[in-house]
Symmetry: C2
Subunit: 359 residues, 2 copies
């Protein structure tokens, strides 16, 4: 990872030079992790010339010391230090045109007058790098997807009449840890019956009933990298016709996108393909979210496979493909895999059977 | 809760009037939940005159419909709508002087020129309300603390030589769900041996050894409300003298603050009391974080019991008291409870024995 990190800094500096930035201020813990190996709160300053500085509070100093490579100079803040103090310490040469990743509006308003030059959003440059995963990142994501896939198979075994959503959740969490995951990548969704019509499930616990549709959305973090997958099941052996029909429509939309996905298309056009397919079957109004999202250190990253996704699909991107159809107060069906873009198509990294009825 | 919510809007309007705001734009899901009962992404506009509007994307519309009271008008955005579209829809009268809670700097820069009048940070007004918990909130927090306390007792039973941190974590998660928690309030910390010297634990899993100090930090969410507590244990019957001594210092600092805590003090002064006590025993440099933090819908809320905490302690506040001493690469000891401020002192809401050695 050390070499990969040196390369990341180098490419960031290239982008800064191209865009005439004299410095960049990074605050997002995911960006700190990407460039330094330290995952926690702090402020990383990358000057166009000279060594990057990582400022952390005393509380996180020991962890930072253990995590960062010697390519970064570590600086301990006082407990009372704020972002203003960091800005005050920066040489004027860095503050001529400084980019930032994710300041809050309040922070921005507090510091903008302390910058002699200009200060402007620059997260797009970091995303340009982070969107394309390197070999080591891909290895971690693959392992993360493997764990999630095994957890999905366990979930499928556990679903049955009378079981509580929370019971499935607890057993799946246990399995995640056993398989070496650090944590769940997001709050696991086990949404049964009418709750499945809410894409993220609804509040409260519920006992599964015969005739329920159950939506299971899982992801883990392995060595800092996420995975994400969804399967939808039916409790019982004879799904109603509408459930089976919608399952097919979702599967077809997903297969179509996966077959037609090639480098050079826009993220929005992939969403559009799925939307057209689902609309042609009469369910366009019930496909109420984007087709997918990038993932890596974070569970939601660019590209956005949605009508707003301007990103161009490139080799090395990792994202989800997850069409879904949701009938309010009835049921919802979503099928999702994490995929890696290769030169000549995609590799699907998550794997579990696509079976509506339970094993 | 419906009456409580009506009252919250009323008090927000009072604060807006006092500060001459013509409208307020809320984006934090916790604020949306506080005012409307809906927990998810969206934009809530509270005009000084007229009915509040909640804008949500199609993906979350059904959940919003199920959650919000009829005191709020619900408006469905298009999938492609952004915050700009919401601003465009607002009447000019609302945009004369509009406050916001937590916009990102990028969002702020995108919309500020669309506002004819002025736009400024206003989260402090909402915090003024949220910092003081009402009866219903206190009930939920108490129940949340009860569940966390039971989980802590389970954790204490599970700790022993040879057990993995992740095994304890998995069993505690299972217990949380069993006891009715929606989810963990944060990533559970089970940090053993030298990892306990990192206040949030370190990466990776670890098997517990005789002579380990183990720091356990737990919290759950119950009906939308958080709890938080920490205990520190020793694996073995005869803790080294330094471990026992530091345990006493931490306990003494905590007891001192709890005894001297009265309405009218500042949050910073409470931190100062603990810091002085710990310093007088020679460990001031190893107390590397704030004494505590408010909690409620979110796990970290004002007041900040830190050198920066300007808030004045008032009846109805709920926060943690959690002094800690961390010896780098050796061990760390923290003891934490969630407390409620009452007219004449505090009520400690979390409960589990304060015993360094295991039962």
């Amino acid at each position: 990872m050390a070499d990969a990190r040196a390369d990341r800094f180098k490419r960031l500096l290239d982008l800064m030079r191209e865009n005439e930035l004299t410095g960049i201020l990074l605050k997002s813990p995911a960006n700190l992790f990407y460039f330094t190996g330290y995952l926690g709160p702090g402020i990383l300053i990358v000057p166009l010339d000279g060594v990057p500085f990582l400022f952390v509070h005393p509380m996180n100093y020991e962890l930072a010391e253990q995590s960062v490579s010697n390519r970064v100079e570590l600086s301990k803040l006082r407990s009372t230090s704020t972002i203003k103090d960091v800005i005050d310490e920066l040489p004027e040469s860095v503050k001529v045109k400084i980019g930032f990743d994710d300041l809050s509006a309040e922070e921005y308003l507090k510091i903008k007058d302390l910058i002699g030059g200009s200060i402007l959003p620059a997260s797009e440059y970091v995303w340009k790098l982070r969107m394309i995963k390197d070999a080591e990142e891909i290895e971690r994501i693959k392992k993360s997807c493997e764990i999630t896939s095994k957890c999905m198979e366990l979930a499928a075994e556990l679903l049955e009449e009378g079981v509580l959503e929370s019971e499935v959740k607890a057993e799946v969490m246990e399995e995640m840890f056993k398989l070496g995951a650090e944590r769940a990548a997001f709050e696991i969704i086990i949404a049964s019956g009418p709750k499945s019509s809410l894409p993220h499930g609804g509040p409260g616990d519920r006992s599964m009933k015969k005739g329920d549709v159950v939506l299971v959305d899982l992801g883990v973090v392995y060595e800092g990298y996420c995975s994400d997958m969804t399967r939808t099941f039916y409790i019982g052996s004879q799904p109603e016709e509408e459930v089976s029909r919608i399952y097919e429509v979702v599967m077809d939309a997903k297969s179509l996108v996966q077959e037609e996905l090639t480098i050079g298309l826009t993220a929005a056009s992939l969403h559009e393909k799925a939307y057209k397919e689902i609309s042609s079957k009469g369910y366009g109004d019930y496909f109420i979210h984007g087709l997918g999202h990038g993932l890596g250190i974070e569970i939601h990253e660019p590209p956005r496979l949605s009508p707003l996704g301007k990103e161009v699909i490139m080799e090395g991107m990792v994202f989800t493909i997850e069409p879904g159809i949701y009938l309010p107060r009835k049921f919802g069906i979503r099928i999702e895999d994490t995929v890696l873009v290769k030169r000549d198509g995609i590799e699907v990294l998550t794997s579990a059977p696509y079976e509506l009825t339970l094993p």
